[in-house]
Symmetry: C2
Subunit: 333 residues, 2 copies
Amino acid sequence: MKKIINRPEDVVTEALQGMAAAYPGQVTVHFAPDFIQRAGGPVPGKVALVSGGGSGHEPLHAGFVGLGMLDAAVPGAVFTSPTPDQIQAATQAVDAGAGVLHIVKNYTGDTLNFEMAADLARADGIDVEAVLINDDVAVQDSLYTAGRRGTGVALIAEKIAGAAAEQLRPLAEVAGICRRVNARGRSMGIALSSCTVPQAGRPTFELGEDEMEVGVGIHGEPGRRRMKLATAAGITAMLLEPILDDLPFLAGDRVLALVNGLGGTPLMELYVVYNELAKLCAARGLTIVRNLIGTYMTSLEMAGCTITLVKMDDELIALWDAPVQTPALRWGI
Amino acid sequence: MKKIINRPEDVVTEALQGMAAAYPGQVTVHFAPDFIQRAGGPVPGKVALVSGGGSGHEPLHAGFVGLGMLDAAVPGAVFTSPTPDQIQAATQAVDAGAGVLHIVKNYTGDTLNFEMAADLARADGIDVEAVLINDDVAVQDSLYTAGRRGTGVALIAEKIAGAAAEQLRPLAEVAGICRRVNARGRSMGIALSSCTVPQAGRPTFELGEDEMEVGVGIHGEPGRRRMKLATAAGITAMLLEPILDDLPFLAGDRVLALVNGLGGTPLMELYVVYNELAKLCAARGLTIVRNLIGTYMTSLEMAGCTITLVKMDDELIALWDAPVQTPALRWGI
């Protein structure tokens, strides 16, 4: 295992300390229980957004805390769900009386722990709604998941629902917009290499020198099939076709396209994938009205990428374009 | 070799096509000769900034084209200098009559080809100044370089000089600010793995399972020494001490700190490095007034990182904070 870390058991804490040192004006980092909060505390009248999950997917979610996006992110150990008391502490810290929206990627540990935390928060008189993100079309059930896994739509939902919350819309409306993004979003990913969880010290799975895992999960969960490495054109088609057919996306639809690197894939390759994606979308009559290309949701140093499409409308586009100021996503400010 | 590409010989062109598809309102991509130009053409009265170099370092430089930064970037083949005719074409395309600043990382091929292009452009009546970036303290001469290599200071100089140009300052002044950034900036890097140039098909160099290359260049050039993998604390000290001692940076100095991933290192590890860096700088009496943490200048999928410090003053800070709108760096807009 080759990583720039100190003791494997300290990596999450030290990364959070690094974020605290780097962004003192933007986020406040709490320890024991760990969570990252938007600086300045709760915003009066605003619904607060909380997301979280295992660490190792940075910048997701901690990098998306700030104006126009999350009020708090709750990081678990690497690839491990945060605990209910962590989530509860974050929920209490961000509540401004207008309620709290939990945005939860669909992994069994995450859903259970967010549900327990929501119950605890409700017992404290906090209005909590939860939206489950389950956009990954690759497989129905998986290693850590009943139903579909939650992947790239998480950050798009965080951005769009975060903009709605910033407009001081009520909880039911913010939750409704978040559910709409999830309902209209689909994703699929591919891995060219495994990744190594620091405390495990060995690769999560093994892939042959010429193999790729099509439909991989962001913890290295098996996908649809393992096959010989294909070209960028072949890979893009293999990811995009199941996405398009599932919703389905139809000619005339306007979409947001996310081409996301899983950690070890260079930006140059993501641009090659986007080039193929743009051609395939054009051939199907889809208009890509917004895009995001880069490394936003990772599996540590895994080589590979995910593609996410969300069917947009005027309201979703306006919310996407609204100002955001977080460590990892920033515009309009 | 595991990459998401089509034919290795097409990867640069297809990545540029992907950028053209992704950012039509922000950049215009020209082919044969290849260069990426800020959309909208030359800005009347503004000094134009041109940089470039081998591909494989994305987002450097193509991702930094736009308002407040570069007017054009000139990409060569992977790890190969752009040709004089490419640079000349970009220089002609961006000139608005106020002159053109070439920002050139110090590699022998780059400096020669930028010099030839500058001569050709001057023969066409364009006022060209060049600033050489040579911030890497690791080694005096290297595989492709006489003198010190140019690394992380390049993008900081592009941002700061770009802001000065946006204020319609004259060429001599913009060039002077760019030289000041270079004179006050120092960098050093480390590699935990090699990278593979697509057309070579095999790793540029070999590193043992437990080894790292201290002082590596961004094309995999040898550094100061090869040694056993150290902790994040040890690595950060090994990179920072030579940087601090070289300028030297002294107690009371205000610095901009860039912790840059070389392509295959997760953001989580960069935050761990930043945590160590912040502690070491505090112990030396340095104040980090601005920071940038992420993957901004890469060596394809190399695992490793670079640290850059620039000694700041009020003017440089204001120019750093000025609005920028490029594919890879955006704020204030």
